[in-house]
Symmetry: C2
Subunit: 298 residues, 2 copies
């Protein structure tokens, strides 16, 4: 079975649309998202634009703040402060990467945790780890959990192997998969660059979450039959036969692994489309919290 992020994100957007309508009709609230971009990285500009476009389409108020590459740390902090205090803005996202004069950690720490829809602020990371549902869940891991739930993947007591220990994917994935809950309660093994006998560990996995940034590192002989594969990687590899000169591949060798897998996300079209969907879901959650509205009541 192909786990389609297009299908799941469409279901999330449809839920979001009805939540936005209900927020507007019952509470006269319009959720608002501010996206801050420092510099002119073309990939970042394209992400920021697609976020803004999606907001417009759904009826989320959005602001795009594009600052010069040489903007000072103090000026970025001043903008964050303005956005923290602006009632129309419920969520603030600062696009990475940022230029070298900017201390990304200090910028994230300056965001009001209630508006930290990326879930990068330590207080939200901590809440996620201890299972306090007041906080947010980071967007890409939240998207993975949404895929598991949408396709009703059995996770109870299953062995999930997470490849990669990044703060934005690997670590939160371990926290979310191992916690109590319907699409959780996994035994979780976290592997990384120092892991010995990786193949042996992967061969035991009922579920593999690949988030290493190494193109096609998970090969067919590393997985057992009926494994569930979630491929978070999006890597460019040179391909003269493609008119762009490259093609996108995941961290999993799809053609080798797919025949053995009971379920697998493709790249592109798997986890990728989920990230913005979950960002906007977090923005609605933030709007609810800031207006003392129960999300479930919408």
């Amino acid at each position: 079975m192909i786990l389609s992020g297009k299908e799941v994100s469409a279901a999330v957007y449809s839920r979001i649309e009805s939540q936005i309508a209900s927020l507007s009709e019952k509470h006269s609230v319009t959720p608002g998202l501010a996206v801050v971009l420092v510099g002119e990285d073309p990939a970042s500009q394209s992400y920021v634009n697609s976020k803004a476009k999606k907001c417009e389409k759904l009826g989320i108020y959005s602001e795009k703040h594009v600052l010069d590459t040489d903007t000072s740390q103090a000026d970025v902090l001043a903008l964050i402060d303005t956005l923290n205090n602006k009632p129309e803005i419920n969520g603030i996202l600062v696009q990475s990467p940022q230029p070298p004069q900017i201390d990304e950690r200090a910028i994230i720490d300056a965001i009001n945790p209630q508006k930290d829809v990326d879930c990068f602020h330590p207080v939200n990371v901590g809440k996620m780890l201890i299972g306090d549902e007041d906080g947010f869940v980071p967007c890409t891991p939240a998207g993975v959990m949404e895929i598991l739930a949408h396709y009703e993947i059995e996770t109870q007591g299953k062995h999930a192997v997470v490849l990669g220990r990044s703060n934005i994917v690997g670590k939160p994935m371990c926290a979310l998969l191992s916690r109590k809950g319907k699409y959780a309660n996994c035994t979780v093994t976290m592997c990384h660059s120092r892991t010995q006998n990786l193949n042996e560990i992967c061969l035991q996995a009922d579920i593999i979450i690949a988030a290493t940034g190494i193109p096609e590192m998970v090969r067919g002989d590393m997985v057992k039959d009926d494994v569930v594969i979630i491929d978070v990687g999006i890597n460019r590899v040179d391909d003269a036969s493609d008119k762009r000169g490259y093609r996108l591949v995941g961290d999993v060798a799809f053609d080798e692994v797919e025949p053995k897998a009971s379920a697998i996300t493709p790249v592109p079209g798997g986890v990728g489309p989920m990230t913005i969907a979950m960002l906007l879901q977090n923005t609605i959650r933030a709007a609810c919290q800031q207006n003392s509205i129960a999300l479930e009541s919408l």
Copy 2:
């Protein structure tokens, strides 16, 4: 080899003594710890008293606040506020368990994170997970890491299996063992009550951290030769032959496992003595941070 918490905690206390002397001589700073106890739980009273005694012995200023069992949430919060603003106090610890009218989470959230020497506040939990060394490390897991370092246990790329997913031991142990660092970089598997084929997983472990609260659940046939065992459990089991009517056992069946293990902590005398030592180490760390002194400079 027996991993003696008495030996390791003695080394920590000796380091602490020299740090306290240096803080006093070079900076005229005396670290201060406030311990808050609501109610009359005898075990809690005994913990609180041994903390106070240790502080006195080492030259740490300490305050013990014992409140009536029926103290209101508001009164506990008022005390926390006073302690947050008291310059002589660098660390605040609220003893668990608390009576039912008290919302423990709200009390912890009210502690100034810079004085949260237990590392229960979400912002410190988050900092620990993302590897921000500004925060604290929770005392019992910090004690385990200290034992591994003291005995120079090889951890790089080893497979550590953590049994138990509590917020105070299991989850932070996974975070600390899997992060980068000399006595870290483990591949970590987190197991819990829902784990299937636990025996098979334990048999692969190079290092087992047992923190389930189930007396002697790790049996001899569940571990491989040369395993390193850290037993965080302290359980009372009935024992008519003991004059107290009970004896203390860990989560590991010591007599069965010890012959196979290359290293093992006993119960009592293993992890137990480390917790207060690391609490006081955190208090000194807090005193340094609040006085803009580098701990390493002491």
